[in-house]
Amino acid sequence: MRLGRDGVIGLICFAVSLALLVQSFSLPQLPLTPVGPGFYPRIVLGLLGMAGLGLLLQDLLAARADGPVSGGEPRPTAGVHRRVILLFGIIAAYVLLLPVLGFRSSTALFVLALQPAIEWPVTARAWAAVVAIAIATPLAAYLVFEKYLLVLLPRGSLTGW
């Protein structure tokens, strides 16, 4: 039996719904409310689980009907894939650094790292632009938001800055 991408997703969907559904029965009940905190989730999770199951079945039937059917659009090349993963990695690192280094330092690093990750600068001038933007972005954001508009930005626990 062959399982397509949709089938896998349907299966995951079904499994997660089932797991949460089981959990919803063990939630404590407030004496005041006639229905507990699990009442509404059970309705939604039930429907979602059925939809997941439906997707799984649809995928199985389709696979039997006309053999291997892929998603529609051409799959991106491995290089593109790697780049997207790299970008998500840089973003994750940024977000984890934020509370440690504070907004200004980590944003500068983030902008500095993300630009070449999207498009590698070739000339020295391009590199200079990358650095300039990396410094200007946090600076401008800081001045406009925190200094002028009093929208506070994250401070670093390590740096207090």
Binding site: R5, D6, I9, G10, C13, S17, L20, S24, L27, L30, L32, T33, P34, V35, P37, F39, Y40, P41, V44, L45, L47, L48, A51, G52, G54, L55, Q58, G71, P76, G79, V80, R83, V84, L87, F88, I91, A92, Y94, V95, L98, P99, T107, F110, V111, L114, Q115, P116, I118, E119, I133, T137, P138, A141, F145, L149, L150, V151, L152, L153, P154
Partner: protein, 507 residues
């Protein structure tokens, strides 16, 4: 009625009121256009500045923010495919494709003029029929709200491109996301697995921005190397923002029914507290698609989609001002802040507000009306700047947009957990798009999830008779409409499917 309104307008156009109104509208447009910065955040930021002003000056500035912000979101939605505010979600569906097809000028100006007409029509309702509209709002108990949201959720069937099942799952995921954290009735931790982070739940804004911004940026990154994007980019570079205003206005006014109906949808959603511009925008879009003679053109850059979405979200502003004028009850987060500003200035809000404060009340009405031409003027200039932004290299644009998203996510509650939510749902949104799940139903689930649950449980707490959902006339009518809506979309789906099958057979 006309006389106080005339006086109001004469007051507002004096420079000491016009200036705050203009600045408010300008800040609103900018805040609305920045992805991650919502109208609510903008108005909260502006709030301290209004303490020193007289009440009408402050409220004029806030009205300006509201009107400007509701329109400003369309710039980012159209040019970048990321809604600048939640109320511009549906604008991305057709605005972005139209801009990518080389007509960004047409897309933007369709949006601006639709906002203008939708907003003014909304204002007409606001001023003329406040009483009856407010009466409708009072008729809505928990049963009616529940049924209304079920009707709104039934739109999933209409909004789902491709398979119905995937749309359903997408909506389900949205609903499940709103359940995580703590239950909205008793605050009992639910699906939180003893984690402080999960217990805080997933706030709407970071989820929305994450889902849209990340999937859009990553898709753009993917297509960087492909020749196709070069062409699209060239088309974008070649096309200017110039559009024939007469033609654009003609396109909008040539569809009076669409404009009127979208406006009515926007107002009604605005009048009913609990859900705001985001729902108005999507509901009107869905209505337009249902009533259209060629629903298959939606999502590919049809003008109807933009007109419906943008006229509805500005009409929604008029609607949410109704309850604040009629009862002193805020309809959404933005009007809550406005009401807060009123009480801080010592204005007794309530049913007698309009009759006791004629000048102030009509001053607000006037500010609302005058804000619209100001908005068009400001949008004309800022859209020109924004088109430059789309010509900026992706390697520069992407980090800047992402930093703005982070700032916006952090700013509302000043918590890092919102920023984590942003990134997590960025990944989720990207994965969903890659696997062919439509985002619109997900967003709809997110918007409605908590309200559906709240009102369902409220109705049961008020009266344990489940038949009330059907026997209360408004509630029953709404449920019937929901059933019809699903039936209609399924029929449209089947017809579309059989038609494409026929085409395939011809090959």
């Amino acid at each position: 009625m006309l006389e106080p309104l005339g006086n109001g307008i004469l007051t507002i156009v004096q420079w000491q009121y016009l200036l705050p109104l203009f600045l408010g509208t300008l800040i609103g447009v900018v805040g609305g256009a920045l992805p991650g910065v919502t109208i609510t955040l903008t108005i909260i930021v502006l709030l301290p500045f209004t303490f020193g002003l007289d009440p009408l000056q402050g409220l004029a500035a806030m009205t300006g923010v509201y009107v400007g912000g509701s329109a400003g979101g369309l710039i980012t939605a159209t040019l970048l495919g990321i809604p600048g505010t939640p109320s511009a979600i549906a604008t991305t569906f057709d605005g972005f494709p139209m801009a990518r097809n080389g007509e960004p000028g047409r897309a933007i100006w369709l949006g601006i003029w639709s906002s203008f007409f939708g907003g003014l029509l909304g204002g007409l309702f606001l001023i003329l029929v406040t009483g009856p509209l407010a009466a409708i709002a009072l008729r809505f108990g928990p049963w009616e709200y529940f049924s209304l949201f079920v009707l709104a959720l039934a739109m999933v069937a209409g909004l789902a491109e491709g398979t119905l099942l995937k749309g359903l799952i997408s909506a389900g995921i949205g609903l499940v996301v709103t359940m995580v954290g703590s239950d909205p009735i008793g605050g009992i931790p639910r699906f939180a697995f003893d984690s402080d982070f999960l217990r805080g739940g997933f706030p709407f804004l970071p989820v929305l921005i994450g889902v849209f911004a990340f999937s859009q940026i990553m898709t753009d990154v993917e297509s960087l190397g492909r020749p196709k994007s070069g062409q699209a980019g060239a088309a974008l570079a070649r096309s200017s923002l110039s559009a024939s205003h007469l033609k654009t206005i003609g396109e909008i006014l040539g569809r009076p029914l669409l404009l009127l109906w979208s406006t009515v949808v926007g107002i009604l959603i605005g009048v009913l507290p609990a859900v705001g511009g985001s729902a108005a925008n999507m509901l009107a879009y869905d209505q337009a698609k249902k009533l259209s003679s060629h629903p298959d053109r939606f999502g590919k850059g049809t003008p109807e989609g933009i007109i419906a979405a943008e006229s509805a979200n500005n009409a929604n502003v008029g609607g949410s001002l109704v309850t604040i004028m009629a009862f002193g009850i805020p309809g959404d987060a933005v009007t809550a802040v406005m009401l807060g500003a009123m009480t801080i200035h010592g204005i007794q809000s309530g049913p007698l507000f309009v009759s006791q404060n004629v000048e102030l009340a009509y001053g607000i009405y006037a500010a609302y009306i005058v804000a619209h031409p100001l908005m068009v003027a400001i949008m004309a200039v800022s859209a020109l700047i924004m088109l430059r932004v789309t010509q900026v290299r992706l390697s520069v644009l992407a980090p800047v947009v992402l930093v703005l998203c982070v700032v916006g996510a952090y700013a509302v509650g000043n918590t890092m957990s919102s920023v984590y939510v942003l990134v997590i749902f960025g990944a989720v949104g990207y994965a969903l798009v890659k696997t062919g799940f439509p985002l619109a139903p997900l967003i709809l689930g997110l918007i409605l999830g908590e309200q559906i649950e709240l009102n369902l449980v409220r109705s049961i707490m008020t009266d344990d008779d489940p038949w009330l959902f059907v026997t209360r006339p408004i509630s029953g009518g709404l449920l019937l409409a929901a059933a019809l809506s699903v039936a209609l979309s399924v029929w449209q789906h089947l017809r579309h499917a059989s038609r494409t099958r026929k085409v395939e057979a011809d090959f």
